[in-house]
Amino acid sequence: MKHLYALILGALFGGILVKAEVLSWFRIQEMFWFESFHMYGVIGSAVVVGAISVFILRRLGTKSISGALINPAPKAFNKTGNLFGGIIFGLGWALTGACPGPLYALVGSGYGIMILTILAAMLGVVAYGAVREKLPH
């Protein structure tokens, strides 16, 4: 059941990504060139809705369907990794015009060439796995 729910929620997200046009290479360039408010509006309002939701869920002591208390933990803080990794990802985001979610949605939108980008991203993950102990975090 859990897997079916994950599939449905993913499909919902994929559909939203298409209609929000956040998977468009054009929109990403427009954002980084400060030529449109669209992407800032999307990301900004998503964060506001996300933050308010988390606040309410915690405040009400809401439980998930499985019965566990909802209390999401922030990711581990590693200043150097967050910054350097972030910059490397940002370079890739502006080149491909896609972050990971949009990559899958672009393939679903008929851009088969993005399968190569996903494979290249997996190669990047393998490379990170190989050198991660030598990198500052």
Binding site: K2, A6, L9, G10, A11, F13, G14, I16, V18, E21, W25, F26, I28, Q29, E30, H38, S45, V49, G50, S53, I56, S64, A68, I70, P74, F77, N78, L83, F84, G85, G86, I87, I88, F89, G90, L91, G92, W93, A94, L95, T96, C99, P100, L103, A105, L106, G108, Y111, G112, I113, L116, A120, A121, G124, V125, V126, A127, Y128, G129, R132
Partner: protein, 186 residues
């Protein structure tokens, strides 16, 4: 009605809809919203590397693989049932900057003159499609998240690390869009 939702959504509809993925995933699966770790799970699932980084019980995270498969299916469904044939309506400034880089075709979601198998032998397409993908994979794992995990989920939790990562995303993106891309396309 169908026509209205088939048209691309304005930011004030699209953004809150994306934000609602956060409570939905928490309530239904008790999971934090995030996409880029799926790349690691896919590597582990396919046993592509013997490195320790891929020796963990990826099956425990299999929801994430189904989630991204769902993203693919959702995009297929939306394009089939709620098609939109128009172009991405860019601002005039962006259109001019694109024209300055020689990008004049605006059909679809991305410029086919850069993203097509026909051009895969050309340096610029290789860099955009392959090197770009590599940087996305390497960078998101080094940073510990992407736009969904850090920018949306992380900032929703008011996490300092996520804020640092998002600043990094923008530094990298600005560098590429203002300097790297013009150099590559010139």
């Amino acid at each position: 009605m169908i026509e209205t939702i088939s048209h691309p959504w304005p930011w004030y509809i699209a953004g809150p809809a994306i934000g609602l993925m956060v409570p939905l995933l928490l309530i239904v699966l008790n999971k934090s919203f995030g996409v880029s770790s799926s790349l690691r799970h896919l590597c582990a699932m396919c046993s592509v590397s013997k490195n320790d980084y891929f020796h963990y019980n990826w099956k425990k995270e299999s929801w994430n693989i189904l989630f991204v498969f769902g993203i693919f299916l959702g995009a297929v469904a939306v394009n089939y049932f709620l098609p939109y044939d128009g172009v991405v309506e860019l601002s005039r400034g962006a259109t001019e900057k694109l024209a300055g880089l020689g990008i004049t075709e605006h059909f679809g979601l991305l410029p086919e003159q850069l993203f097509s198998l026909e051009h895969i032998g050309e340096l610029r397409t290789l860099v955009i499609v392959i090197v770009g993908g590599f940087l996305v994979g390497f960078g998101t794992r080094y940073a510990g998240g992407c736009t969904s995990g850090h920018a949306i989920m992380g900032l929703s939790l008011l996490s300092l690390g996520s804020l640092v990562a998002v600043v990094g995303f923008f530094l990298g993106g600005l560098l590429m869009s203002w300097f790297g891309l013009p150099l590559l396309l010139s």
